[in-house]
């Protein structure tokens, strides 16, 4: 953490009546980096985004931009004074304003000529310079998103928040739109927080990843690290399929059905071993398993197999595996993690 954060969130909480939507949440957003906030629906990720945007007050904790306190209990800098841009899931374009006027909405107070120039540049950046006079409803979903983005970026905010930016788009559009969005955001150089519930999307886009569940941040850091070394079962499952096997820790070493794994710092007693299916491979001198189910998935098959009393998932190349086959598997235990039970 050598760079200074653009936005710092510490110990933030937000309650709705008896329900805690967000508790003790913390994260850092840095200029030029994309932070993805991943969580299942109801995990509090959208609420956290609204707290950072200033659309709601915090009940505890603090949100700062540099030295300036943006949110603290009893004190909320209003959204219009935060210099934080927000792109909504539904884009929230103003239907009564043309595309150009939508983009120019946040540029009040500038001389007309400058304003016009900046609108045109912002629209050029998202390749919509010929649509300034169009009405929002005449644009496609992807174009509407680009207008929403241009409308936010034209104000050159230090931070941009995006709420589920791809959920309204058709699958075949997503990758194309994603590339364009990444490019534009990188070029803008702002700190970006992108909220999503799609693990693949988060892993692909994130410079920094924040995982949320049940209103709490359960892990944050480098995407690959999070993927390979989840901090908990919940964190592991958020990013994709994972095998969870019983383990028993004694003296910093965990005994598991796959063998012994170092578990530094864990107390003695029951624990769990987490390992992704990709790191279980058939072949050689490994452990004996019986295949129970197979599902063909292109260049590999997803296989469910019995290992003693436990059930594991693994990826087997091709379509060779058949239920009832006995297969030996090897685990890459360097990619396994032991977490408290």
């Amino acid at each position: 953490m050598t760079e200074t954060s653009t936005i710092t969130v510490r110990g933030v909480a937000r309650r709705y009546g008896a329900t805690a939507a967000v508790q003790d949440a913390g994260l850092d957003l840095r200029a030029g980096r994309i932070t993805c906030l991943l969580g299942p629906s109801g995990s509090g990720k959208s609420t956290l985004l609204r707290l950072i945007a200033g659309l709601e007050p915090v009940d505890a904790g603090e949100i700062r931009a540099g030295d300036q306190v943006l949110s603290a209990p009893g004190r909320t800098v209003p959204p219009e004074a935060r210099d934080v841009g927000l792109v909504f899931q539904d884009y929230a374009l103003f239907p009564h304003l043309s595309v150009g006027d939508n983009v120019g909405f946040g540029l009040r107070g500038l001389p007309a000529a400058e304003r016009k120039a900046r609108v045109l540049k912002a629209l050029t950046d998202v390749r919509l310079n010929d649509r300034a006079k169009s009405w929002p409803h005449s644009l496609s979903g992807g174009e509407q998103q680009r207008v929403a983005l241009a409308r936010t970026l034209v104000r050159e905010p230090h931070t941009v928040l995006l709420d589920e930016p791809f959920s309204g788009l058709d699958a075949h559009l997503k990758s194309e739109v994603r590339e364009g969005l990444l490019e534009t955001l990188k070029a803008a150089g702002a700190a970006v927080l992108l909220v999503t519930h799609d693990a693949g999307e988060a892993l692909m886009m994130a410079d920094d990843l924040v995982l949320m569940d049940g209103g709490r941040v359960i892990q944050s850091g480098d995407p690959q690290e999070c993927w390979a070394r989840p901090a908990s079962t919940a964190a592991a499952r958020l990013l994709g399929e994972v095998n969870r096997l019983p383990a028993h820790v004694a003296g910093g070493v965990a005994r598991t059905p796959l063998g012994q794994v170092p578990a530094p710092g864990l107390p003695d007693g029951p624990a769990a071993l987490l390992i992704r299916p990709q790191y279980l491979r058939p072949g050689g001198e490994g452990l004996e398993t019986t295949i129970e189910t197979t599902r063909f998935g292109g260049h590999f098959s997803e296989v469910g197999a019995r290992l003693g009393d436990d059930r594991v998932h693994l990826h087997v190349p091709g379509a060779s595996a058949r239920p009832g086959d006995v297969v030996r598997i090897r685990a890459d235990l360097s990619k396994a993690t032991v977490v408290p039970d």
Binding site: A53, L55, P79, D90, A92, H96, R151
Partner: protein, 515 residues
Amino acid sequence: MRLIGVLAALVAVLPLIGVVAAALSGATADIAATDLTRYALTSVALAGIVAAVTGVLGSIAAWLVVMHRFPGRGAFEWALALPFAMPAFAVAYAYADLFDVAGELNSWLRAAAGVALPFQMRSLWGAGFILGFAFFPYVYLAMRAAFTNLPVHALEAARSLGASPRRAFLSVALPMARPALAAGVALAVMETLADYGAVQFLSVQTLTTGVVRAWFVYGSLASAAQFALPLLGAAALLLWIERAGRRRRAYGSPGAKWRPLPVTALTGSKAWLAFAYCLLLLTLGLLLPAGWLAWSSIDVQPDWPRLISAARNTVTLGVGGAVVTVALATALALAARSLPLTARVASIGYATPGAVMAIGLLLPAAWIWSVVPGGSANVVAGLALLLYAYAARLMAAALEPVDAGLSRVTPSMIHAARGLGASEGAAAWRVQLPIAAPALFTAAIVVLVDVLKELPATLILRPFNFDTLAVIADNYARDERLANAGWPSLILVALALPPVIWLSRKAAHARPGSE
């Protein structure tokens, strides 16, 4: 289906054909052009005043009630629609009497302070004030719905783009509600043009005066109908505005998640100011005129048997008119999916001045009277004719909710029903109507309230020995016995209040996502 729709439209359009037919026949009257210009200008000015008064009053009330919290807000939310239960003519009686130069208030003021109020209700501005307060609920209800359904994201987006709450309201919320504002104001102006009792009572001379003079004093039905044509044109224009407004109300993003509106809690003097504003609207629109009528009639011994029988007639006509009108409107709306023009034309009756409608209604009436045994002495035919007149006059009022209800049925639902073996009629019966049933009920209530207050068609077409409360009130008012006119008016308000309360409360709680 298509045939039924065309028939329903024809039923509604017949009176208008009657007006046009009358305009093309017979000798024209020699009415001075300057008088006509004056009438037309007065009509335009009155419509303008009513549009401004209802637009401002209704919008502010809706904005306060939807976006703020202050004492009494929960009650005002539905109570502000209650002036809708008060017939415009009754409001006119009350205010004209209350503020008359020689009325009790001014007499007392003169005696006590030696001054009189510097304004008069029997004037263009007075009529604008009275009709404005009688009709502002149209704008209030439309704007309340618009603000309630406002996509909250749009407001939040505006804030995050640097707009203050005030600017977010002015430059986002208000423009997005503009179609609703246009629709509400159009309804209020239509009612103003169609008004019969109030404007005449206040001796404001509008184009309707011209129609009546041409028809009766000069005995030229043709001239009367010719003066009516511009009014019909205005009616058609207003309907078009209202329709266009409704189409653009489909604004917003279907994918958006519904969120409760950001409600500002008002405190201190602001809260009391909001309270006072809402109370003032309610007072001037309902409590003061109704109270004054009650106060003036307190010494009058009402003729109960006559009033009760009139009340029974009024309710019977109201229910019958509601059923017939909604049935026709439904047939029309079902057919209008393929025939949009018929629906629009059939709605013109709503904005047609009462006196003009009377001309037009006599054409189908004459035909019915000539074929049924006993002519207009035939009570059943007479009542049927009245119900028909209500349908022709109030089609637009029913068409809007019915249309909205039917639009909840997506084409794919009908296709699914057809795919499961239902005929077109069966699909309408088993899928469209049940889904639209709540909307049909709402439409029926709207028409019911309008029929209760209806005057011109009832006055001219009703069968023998058949009075409604509005007719009795009008009789007394013409005879300049306002104290006597108070009772039927008040009973009318009492009858209209429950359905209006029901309507208003229902609409107040209808929010997307809260169903």
